[in-house]
């Protein structure tokens, strides 16, 4: 027993040792550290983005250890993680981003960025950042605005700048609105745009936030640019732009809110800053050298005409695209004037414009699609068209021309010269993309008087009512048949009349044979059978009293009951005293029997 305990203890110990050995042997997978800069050289007022990527086959990737870099201000810009499984293999990478702001010029190596994992250090590659002394210094005006009246630097201020304060009318002026922020703010600032009466305005874009140093203070700058086109001459003003931002308030004089764990709640104060108003002196376009057909377009443009084809049949359309491309207010470009052309009919098909905003300049292309239909065959020419504009840089008017377009117009079979009418060949070609109307029809078709709508056609109603009637009829027939099969009384009552009439025919034969006794017996039996069938009773048990009672119960008229009983008595009498019966009595009895049965049909049995 003791020996067994020893064995268990030894096995347990061995297990522990093996487990420890295995855990030591399972060292963390190796890591790789990559360091990169988005720029090698920056100015003093610029910034660089440092990226540190740590990669490895583990999810447990440690944060990098940054070396001391006293020549820079470093701000973490966050991290992003990317994990992927491929063929059962884990591959993870964490990217850390840092914003680097230089504090002095020089060449600075950035090295020894490392991560430590499993008692092992993994160092990244060294990079070097060169900081040049010159900086894109802010304008004197901006620096002045950055100070308040007492000379202290402002936490927040707005600036409006124009690139040209003496433009020509309809020439682009770029308006830049900037918000400078040197303190912590919450949320995005809002902007009330300046009043720009007398300008046509187009937003160019928003930039930022980016950073700039002013008066030894780092500002974050949000910038918005507009292309504004003065629409009249003279002095025009641009109003104030108003930025509103929530600025973090200083805490020293504020009682700390016990629920404000992170010091974030209610710590903002709304601050409004306004830019200075601007004045622009817009000058008119010079009269000197102004073309007679000048349409007022300013900028620099090219003019090009492109036909869809150069060989066409007479009276078939050819589309020509006139494209005016360049820099300037493309929306104001007017349609080129096409002179009267004797060889063509011209239709304007469409126009469209695409606006571009490259290098803060509004420009683009305006396309005019014109359709030319040649009136006659031969070598025809769409002449060169011209387009005038004023070039503000050269300060003179320019005219650009399209190339003349030569078209080979083919004469088609059946062509008859007719300058004022579109032409269509009799051999009409069916095509989805029709170029002309299809030719007249030679067959008049079903030439008839105007027909009424089909719903008032009697045949239509006959066709539609017939199945309804047919359904009703078949259902009724079926029900009757089923009742005749299942209800004997009903069947006897329904067949009573027919059976009685058949027997009356038999009785008539007996009368003709001179057997009056049998005749009256049969007549009596016919009537009794008729009443029995109607009442679903055996005729043998019907006495005169019972007949009277039953007919009375069924609501028969008293006269009918009386006549019936009298008739039966008469028949009985005649059976036993045939000598007293004449031929006229036989006929009369037959008629009476039929009349009685007809009257009884009216009784509801």
């Amino acid at each position: 027993m003791t020996g067994r305990r020893h064995i268990v203890a030894v096995v347990f110990l061995v297990g522990l040792i093996l487990a420890g050995t295995l855990s030591v042997a399972q060292t963390p997978p190796p890591l790789e550290v990559q360091v990169s800069l988005n720029r090698d050289t920056i100015g003093m007022d610029e910034q660089a983005l440092l990226e540190v990527i740590v990669q490895g086959a583990t999810q447990d990737i440690p944060d990098p250890r940054m070396p001391t870099l006293p020549m820079f201000e470093i701000f973490s810009q966050g991290r992003s993680t990317n994990i992927s499984y491929s063929n059962g293999q884990l591959d993870a990478s964490v990217t850390h981003r840092y914003l680097i702001l230089p504090s002095k010029p020089g060449v600075f190596p950035i090295e020894n960025i490392s991560v430590v994992s499993g008692n092992k250090r993994y160092s990244g590659n060294p990079v070097t950042l060169t900081v040049v002394g010159k900086s894109t210094s802010a304008s004197r005006q901006t620096e002045d605005q950055a100070r308040d009246t007492e000379g202290n630097s402002r936490d927040l201020f707005a600036e409006a700048i124009i690139d040209n304060d003496n433009p020509y009318v309809n020439q682009q002026v770029t308006l830049t609105l900037k918000l400078y922020i040197a303190v912590q703010t919450y949320g995005s600032p809002s902007l009330v745009e300046p009043i720009t009466t007398g300008f046509w305005t187009e937003l160019l874009g928003t930039r930022g936030p980016y950073q700039q140093r002013l008066n030894n203070r780092t500002y974050r700058i949000i910038e918005r640019k507009y292309a504004i086109f003065p629409t009249k001459t003279g002095e025009l003003s641009i109003g104030r732009a108003t930025f509103t931002s929530t600025v973090a308030t200083k805490r020293q004089n504020r009682r700390r809110d016990p629920f404000d764990i992170f010091g974030m709640l209610g710590g903002g104060q709304e601050v409004q800053v306004k830019s200075r108003p601007l004045t622009i002196n817009v000058k008119p376009l010079p009269m000197e050298g102004r073309p007679a057909d000048f349409s007022g377009t300013i900028g620099r443009f090219t003019f090009k005409a492109t036909p869809t084809k150069r060989e066409i049949e007479v009276n078939q359309p050819v589309s020509v695209n006139f494209a005016i491309t360049g820099v300037g207010n493309i929306k104001s470009v007017a349609e080129p004037t096409i002179p009267d052309l004797s060889d063509f009919r011209v239709y304007r098909a469409s126009s469209n414009e695409s606006i571009s905003k490259h290098n803060d300049q509004i420009g683009g292309t305006k396309n005019f699609e014109e359709v030319f239909i040649p009136n006659r065959p031969g070598q025809l020419t769409i002449p060169s068209l011209s387009f005038n504009f004023f070039d503000p840089q050269a300060e003179r008017y320019r005219t650009v021309h399209t190339q003349a377009i030569n078209l080979n117009v083919i004469k088609t079979e059946g062509y008859v010269a007719s300058p004022d009418l579109p032409y269509s060949a009799p051999d009409n070609v069916i095509s989805a993309d029709a170029r002309d109307i299809r030719y007249i029809k030679s067959d008049p078709g079903d030439l008839s008087r105007r027909a009424e709508v089909v719903f008032v056609n009697p045949l239509y109603w006959v066709v539609n009512v017939t199945p309804v009637l047919a359904l009703l009829a078949t259902v009724l027939v079926r029900r009757r048949r089923e009742r005749l099969q299942g209800d004997i009384g009903y069947a006897r009552a329904r067949r009573a009349s027919k059976a009685a009439r058949q027997r009356l025919v038999q009785a008539r034969k007996l009368a003709s044979e001179g057997d009056s006794s049998q005749y009256f017996a049969e007549i009596s039996q016919v009537l009794l059978s008729f009443i029995g069938d109607k009442l679903n009773l055996s005729p043998h048990g019907l006495t005169n009293d019972k007949i009277a009672q039953l007919l009375q119960e069924r609501g028969a008229e008293p006269s009918l009951i009386e006549t019936t009983l009298e008739f039966l008595k008469r028949c009985d009498f005649a059976r036993y005293a045939p000598a007293s019966i004449g031929k006229s009595d036989i006929e009369e009895t037959l008629v009476k029997a039929e009349n009685l049965m007809v009257r009884m049909e009216e009784v509801r049995f």
Binding site: L421, I437, I440, K441, G445, L447, R450, V453, L471
Partner: protein
């Protein structure tokens, strides 16, 4: 020249009336004029047939062509629409209507408000109302045939039951399509702008504000009328009032 053509046409008309020319012969006469490029005379000849209360898809089609060639876009589209109502599947009519409508100086894109209705309309478009009505009748007969088999003759098997349900479904579908076609072709009143200048107002009066400028060839739906004005709905769903004499009812 145009006056001469009119005089010639009038002479032809009276001559034809006095000599008892048949509508078919007048139709062919119109075709002869068309081929000789005397489009106004062709219109006169076709009009004489129409004035006799005669109609056919070919007659309206040729009339539309004559109107188009003589530069009367509004009437061209009007007659193509009339032709299309009589023969909706004729590709020549569809093609010419489509082609002529490209020449309207104001283009109004149709607005598809109800996709289900649009689907149904696209299904019924190629068919005449009478065709759909007779198809409905056939479905009605089939449905009642199954009902008679079931309730008249008492057959109760699964084929008859399935026949009743399927034929009822078929009947409902074709009847809906037929009613939609009837609504589209007969209950909905359409017109075409025929005047070169056609101002559309916000109310049934010249003194109302101008809503828009219509152009010849635009197709409108007549919603109501008041005095000399129609309240019309354009294909882009804009509404307004237009003088009755500026449009022609299809």
């Amino acid at each position: 020249m145009r006056g001469l053509i009119v005089i010639v046409s009038m002479c032809v008309f009276f001559a034809s009336v006095s000599s008892g020319v048949t509508p078919e012969e007048q139709f062919h006469q119109g075709n002869d004029y068309f081929e000789a490029r005397h489009f106004d005379s062709a219109r006169q000849a076709y009009n004489q047939v129409i004035a006799q209360d005669m109609q056919s898809a070919s007659l309206y089609f040729n009339m539309g062509n004559a109107c188009f060639r003589s530069g009367d876009l509004g009437y061209a589209i009007l007659y193509y629409l009339k032709a299309q109502r009589l023969d909706p599947s004729d590709t020549d009519i569809i093609s010419n209507l489509d082609f002529a409508r490209r020449f309207t100086s104001v283009q109004m894109e149709g607005v598809a408000l109800n996709p289900v209705r649009s689907l149904f309309e696209s299904i019924v478009e190629p068919y005449q109302l009478s065709t759909l009505a007779w198809i409905s009748s056939a479905a009605f007969l089939l449905f009642f045939g199954f009902l008679i088999t079931r309730f008249g003759f008492g057959y109760r098997n699964s084929i008859v039951r399935a026949g009743i349900y399927n034929s009822l479904f078929l009947l409902l579908v074709v009847a809906t399509l037929t009613m939609m076609k009837y609504d589209n072709d007969y209950l909905t009143k359409r017109a075409v702008v025929i005047s070169e200048t056609a101002e559309v107002y916000t109310g049934p009066s010249d003194l109302s504000d101008k809503e828009l400028d219509a152009a010849p060839g635009l197709i409108v739906e007549i919603l109501s009328e008041s005095g000399d004005f129609y309240n019309v709905l354009f294909e882009n769903k804009r509404r307004g009032w237009i003088k009755k004499d500026l449009v022609a009812v299809v």
